[in-house]
Symmetry: D5
Subunit: 147 residues, 10 copies
């Protein structure tokens, strides 16, 4: 899998500055996952956010246009992802997808969780038996319209 | 997509008894998503859990063997799911998969979130602008071993 | 491509009664495309709508549960549809997908047209050089959330 | 997904001139979606249209040949599109494809809507509960010939 | 590859009556390929044509509805056909597809040959070095519309 | 879809000379579709044909080796073609493939139409209701051998 | 992979009679591989061959029609075969396909080996270091036609 | 399909020297198909074979490392080959794969023909009705081990 | 994924008898994985082994033919397995496949590990930090033959 | 299949130094397969390991960042590998996957073998009838969590 040149420039500058996504998130007043999604060309920044980010990373204004234009989204190359970390989320859907669908529809009726009006957070839960990754997704429920 | 006969019998009995997955979860002392995953042949019950479930649903003991045997998992038929509710989770990975990978590895180092030593919960967050679905996933972090 | 038994029963009864989807739509106070989507197991009826439909078609109550339960959606069998009428819509996206994306984002910013809070209508436009099919889709614009 | 160099040059010049597809459409006497499809190498301009467009955008005549030659069409890279905006149209066919087919054939008999003798328009419908995207497709009905 | 029951009944009756598709074509005043496409559920007969066909084959009226309803078309099972006779036509497109596209567009401009307003005929050309199969396809040229 | 450099050079030279494939075909004493297939690297020229062609187009001898070496054939990139003109031929096989197979075998017995000992011609049939494209394919019948 | 009922009946009868394909081949005056291909619905028998075969196997005349009708060929279910014996031949093409193509074209010019006017034989070559399987394929060379 | 640079250099030098694979095979004391497989990066030469080959072709020692290192094998690009010559072998397996499997196992028991301890030869069989291609494959039989 | 009836009968009888694969392995003098592969129709038993197995499980002789006939192998339904336990082995190849290939060829030269003359054993390694699964594969090295 | 530039540089330097993976493994105190997985961009080195490796191979520090950053894993290009050595492991899962799953679950209950907390070793087992490759995999057993 290869990423666009802008992604590579942003990641390199971040590494050289010794910043984490969380550091940059605090600076921009945004969550670290959203910041990372901007680095990977999956989100659109406002002019002000783009300026702040580029100044922080010591990068020139030539990346601004890319950061502020709605991108073609969907960054995973193979149809079924092969990276083990990402595949696990695909597997979760294979195993728990139908159960989740039923539970969501039992609570909300026929509709879906929006993936657009949507946030996602990642936290570390310390645990003596081994730390745990906590991923919290939260999206607006959209009921099917009748007409 | 068609489900095994046992899934259909369990869902039908649950509907006739007017029970939700949450109701059954309280009875078994287990989460509602896990209970639903048992209905869909994606989890294994203990003998005691299977007995309680079948009694509650008024079903015969002939389903016990299926409920207590480790199943072949992975219930989604097309390689890329077409049901809109389930597809949204696939899309989330397309859009936020690489960003999440980077954030998780920034916090934990090289490794993955387990999809086995793992829990998933679904909650309704009431919101005047439209209720929201909250999905919380929590899995043990597994660092890559060197040898 | 084969359809569920319920779809076949509904279509057969409709044919025997000599009703069009438009006729049934008027009866239920709903659009003809939505009615057809209910026949194909892609929508969920209310109790009242299901009762009215089954009475109209002279069908028994045993179909009511299917009509009122949120279905697993996505009815096209091959990954890329082979029926010429349906394939044309896939081709339209191949040819006009990116142009539409750009025009929509020029007008609305980064986001999508909802396929859930969404309606679709089909009309016949008479034309001396050959009648035309008019398909009007209308979905809520959902802007990407930042967090 | 990467686009041909000509597409990139056209989009860049348009951005620098601060023009929308609608602006250019008025200039050429053509719809904005069609103009965008020309930018993406999916349509063929006449000599006059190509000249006008290149002059407007301040681009040299070397793009004229590309703009006036029938292209190899079909610009979406993965078999099933992963960009959320474009995927929604694929999903609409998964969910409403068969219902539309039945309604069209109930109104017209056996045949298809042409994707060649065809127009597509995008409009913004203002709505206090959130603006809506309206997509109107209109294609000639082509009945199957018998011979 | 398995065919619908109606196809099997029609083929069996035809065999028992000792009729060729050409014989039936003469009876119905239609081409033999079209008749065969009706047998395979790819075309729609008029009421009169269906009656004549069923009488000729000594079959009951219960097949009439299937013969007169617009079918879901596209009868080849694997995405790329494996039957050698049918595969050869797929190969012809692999080898001569782009050349044909260029020649057609050189003669007609940007557009396509319709596969709907379209006929296809098969003839035997006797040849001392081995008989030849002649397939003649003829479809209306559809120029791309601008709007 | 991208074509080899030799194809691009040949097409460019042909355009600059203002020649059609038919013009070149007359010069070489070969059909225009065959000539186009040579341009797309799907056929092999004799030394003499290659010389004549390169002289006509004002191209150097460095393309001669490519034109006279049996190529790796099959020029369509996606498994199922997305260009509408080419897709229509794929669709014709989906719809009329089995009917053609039956008619051919009714006339010839078990065997296939050769795609190697094979010719293909494209003609324009003028028609007041809209001109028609006529494609005539003619291949040797090859009966299956028993042994 | 499942085979048609006729294949299963033929294989079962052959087993009960204790016959090898070679035994039956001698009886019919045909090669054992061809006989096996008839069992798997990949070849067409003459009336006389079908009669002899059915008598030998003690089977009724109801299979005769299937044995004497040109079948839809291509019996391997997954696109890439998973049975190890059959996969090896697929692998041979992956590894030696291009080398064979070059050697064949060096000897014959541009063209192919026919898979229709074609025979295949399997022999056992005894060898003290382990017996060897010898597969001899022999097909007519078909040169590409120019036109 | 594109081949590695080393393949292209070897093929070009062979052409300039006017050598066939058979000529080179005699020089190296190896079969022509094996020689061609070395050209296509599918086999490994010994030091001595590589030296002799490079001297014969007048090529420098910089290709020696590539010729003597076990390669990543499998040179066909699309999953199902589209070149007609190579596809025919794929088709042979579709049609005669199961019959061959049965005949091999009737003669040898449960096991496979090795594709590693394996040879392949191509010969021209002159025939007044048209020359024939003879391909002889010979591989060690490997019985399944029990343990 | 569904298994053949014979597999289901064997598994059911084994469960009713309360036997493990290891128990049966001791009885037959064979490894437990091999025994399980026989249950899943992936291996061939001798007459004596089949008799002993059927007697042990209290099953009739009608399964003997299936147990003693070389099967069509390859039991995983989706091209990429979705069951998490089995997928992990696919992932191991994605991650460690090329490294293993290099190490094997460094030790053995150009060739492969046989999957036919091959054994596989599964052991439990007790470990206070959590038990470990040990899978030992052992196959004959097959060097590529030159000819 | 092409590998990243860093992989090529590492492999080339190793070859020039005349080192095996085992040699380097001893130097770093790590197994040879793990070392090879680092070369192929599938593992992450510590700072110290990267320094030692680069000094040993005489390579500059510019590769250090790549060696110490968690990579996007999964290096096999085609969905089903075509290299014969690697394919055999895929085949082993096709044939012995379900049997292994059953044996593992008989010994451990419902869960999987971790592919993360996991080691793999390759050994040569000398054998007069032909040396054997021994691959030992050992991963932590992860039982499914209930919640």
């Amino acid at each position: 899998m290869s990423f666009p040149e802008s992604t590579q420039l942003l990641l390199k500058a971040k590494k050289e500055k010794g910043l984490t996504f969380a550091d940059i998130g605090i600076l921009l007043g945004l969550d670290e996952v959203w910041v990372a999604s901007l680095f990977y060309g999956q989100s659109t920044a406002s002019d002000e956010e783009a300026d702040k980010l580029l100044t922080t990373l010591g990068l020139g204004a030539e990346l601004k246009e890319i950061l502020t234009t709605p991108p073609v989204k969907g960054s995973l190359d193979p149809v079924i992802p092969t990276d083990p970390l990402i595949y696990r989320f695909y597997e979760i859907m294979q195993v728990y997808g139908m159960p989740m669908k039923d539970v969501i529809q039992e609570k909300f009726g026929d509709g879906i969780m929006s993936a657009i009006d949507f946030t996602i957070n990642v936290d570390k839960v310390e645990d003596p038996k081994g730390d745990r990754v906590k991923v919290a997704m939260c999206g607006k429920f959209l009921p099917y319209k009748k007409w």
